[in-house]
Symmetry: C2
Subunit: 379 residues, 2 copies
């Protein structure tokens, strides 16, 4: 399959303040984004891709001269791929609060009292709703009134769902993969432990670690290790690592690495702590916790989706215990109750939550068909 | 149901060195234990209770004048209870490496070079096999050749299983609840994250925090929070906490408590960090990781249990995702393959792994019947 080749990140500054769900205001902000393919004359073929926890606007293609710089959903987005850039104009956007380009905690706090220091933990709490509002402004600025589709997985799926509620007339198709109408108590619990690991790291310094020239690496490592366990299925971990030893025999040590799974997790934690910002981790896990569009409707998900007008494609994976198929079925039921046009695929895949990033042929087949149908309408 | 009332902890010193699986030697040690009921003249009615991660020899009864001092399995052990102390002489023993009385990391290191300082992280790594050997010596010292039963849940169940392999002629009945023939990769992964949280706490000081007058509380808190999530089922957590808010409205804070589940986990972490020793936590999770009696038999569990001679009662709980029913069924199959006498109960209970400590009537009914049958043989 041909790739997009080298792509260029772009950015757009918004001088108009963004009112947030918390009541706070982001007084001005920049969004990093990328586009792939060509916007047609009718401006009807744009697809917005929303990212999850550990991703960015760099959805597809590579950065010139940079090794391993492939976009996070490059297996899905490109010429001839399920989300075909020969037919669609695809937009990847980085959300405010991120550490990958859009205005976030590592950027200077415009408040004069901050004297040019980074926001750190003073960056306002952002929600899925805030992100969708910021994305909608970008779409408007790009001259697009109505998106052909909004697609996302996991936290990105929550943003896609929220588009259908917040801007019901501005998208034809919502594609929400491996997502949920809200986090369960167990989901929140895992997020909370990860946050505690970060904020109780002595190098967190109340979130102003940058001013101290340090990074709460220990906390970030533990947070990532916890996250990683929940992204994989028990079966996938068993198949990949099982009880394989790291060395020829046990070293009988409480601190050494005895099993390969331990080395793998430590490596994942180390890598993550090198590039991810701790305040961003707190913000993004909180956005996950807060997302619950049915709360304003007394918990009634069917009443919530009465506002929606677009078509829906939902996908879940059988071994995803973080956002289990039962959670997608709750959404499907609410959509069906509203007689909305919904297609749902429950994919038997062994990879747990991570499956949404992989190229399982049945999964990609579903998305290919979904976008092929959409492309026909544009023609 | 009448309780045992006040009980007295006892202890026994063993001057003979204990050779450990690691090759290290525990040169002398003390075991804390408790007994309930009366040993009969034939010394045939003794039942050994093995503890799991966060427990001790204090299985049943209360400590005089001490509030909330009920033993951890008091709902199971006592006069007229499923493990009936009117019929059985029940022994609770604390394992070496613990922080509740038996020789462990908080005790003075007898090595002259240590100059009377506590073992700390120099306490040798102990395994389930080592614990069973230490327990067997206690049983011998109490004048008991053959136990009526060995019972334990979770890590305690592993010890009960190991008795059947290591001392096949010294028990009539093995009762192994909510346990597994070894930890899965996911189980090990959770243990490893908890250990990393502890050893990367700056106040861990390589395991010699006592000499610095500090405790790695941050790490212990995070470790306990992770553990707690895995002890409860997703459903139980959902039923108990769901998305209930801690306050009337969101505070929009990454560090505050927004959901009740967060406050609950923090409270559990705080409590645990007040009384549990960090080195003990490392040792006990490692003992869990190492347990794998089939390893010496090329992974063949049936070949492993060819050594066993006793009867078996296994119990698992449907919502236990830490030690799922499938793991108990592996053991049952290996026992059946050896034509051993095995009874297995899979209890539909909502409480996850914690169910083994609760008094679900079907669960306790199974154990009551098991011990009643055993008592008949003694008569």
């Amino acid at each position: 399959m041909p790739s997009l080749g080298d792509v260029q990140p772009q950015s757009m500054h918004f001088a108009e303040p963004l009112g947030l769900a918390s009541g706070a205001v982001l007084r001005d902000y920049t969004l990093a984004y990328e586009t792939y393919g060509t916007l047609n004359a009718a401006k009807s073929n744009a697809v917005l891709v929303c990212h999850a926890l550990n991703a960015s606007h760099h959805v597809a293609g590579t950065y010139a001269g940079k090794e391993k710089s492939e976009g996070w959903w490059d297996n899905l987005v490109g010429p001839g791929k399920p989300l075909d850039t020969d037919r669609f104009f695809v937009i990847g956007v980085n959300n405010p609060g991120s550490c990958f380009g859009s205005t976030g905690p590592t950027h200077p706090n415009p408040d004069p009292a901050a004297q040019g220091r980074p926001y750190g933990s003073d960056f306002p709490v952002v929600t899925v709703e805030d992100w969708v509002d910021a994305q909608a402004r970008l779409i408007t600025a790009l001259g697009i009134e109505r998106l052909a589709a909004v697609i996302g997985g996991s936290l990105g799926g929550m943003q896609a769902l929220d588009w259908s509620l917040r801007y019901p007339h501005r998208l034809v198709q919502c594609v929400a993969v491996a997502t949920a109408p809200n986090l369960s108590a167990q989901n929140i619990a895992f997020n909370e432990v990860a946050r505690r690991a970060i904020v109780t790291d002595p190098e967190f310094h109340g979130g102003h670690y940058a001013e101290h020239g340090v990074i709460p690496r220990r906390g970030l490592r533990v947070a990532r290790m916890i996250g990683h366990i929940t992204y994989l299925s028990d079966d996938a971990m068993e198949a990949k690592f099982g009880r394989d030893l790291a060395n020829a025999a046990f070293g009988y040590s409480t601190q050494g690495i005895e099993f390969q799974i331990e080395g793998y997790l430590r490596h994942q934690g180390d890598k993550f702590s090198e590039y991810f910002d701790a305040n961003t981790y707190l913000l993004i896990t909180r956005a996950l916790d807060y997302f619950d569009p049915a709360r304003a409707h007394g918990g009634d998900l069917a009443a919530t989706f009465a506002a929606a007008r677009c078509r829906f494609q939902l996908v879940s994976f059988t071994t995803d215990w973080r956002f289990a198929p039962t959670r997608s079925r709750e959404i499907v039921k609410a959509l069906v109750d509203n007689r909305l046009d919904v297609s749902y695929a429950e994919i038997a895949a062994p990879h747990g939550h991570d499956a949404f990033l992989l190229d399982d042929p049945r999964y990609h087949g579903v998305l290919r068909a979904c976008f092929a149908n959409l492309a026909k309408e544009l023609a």
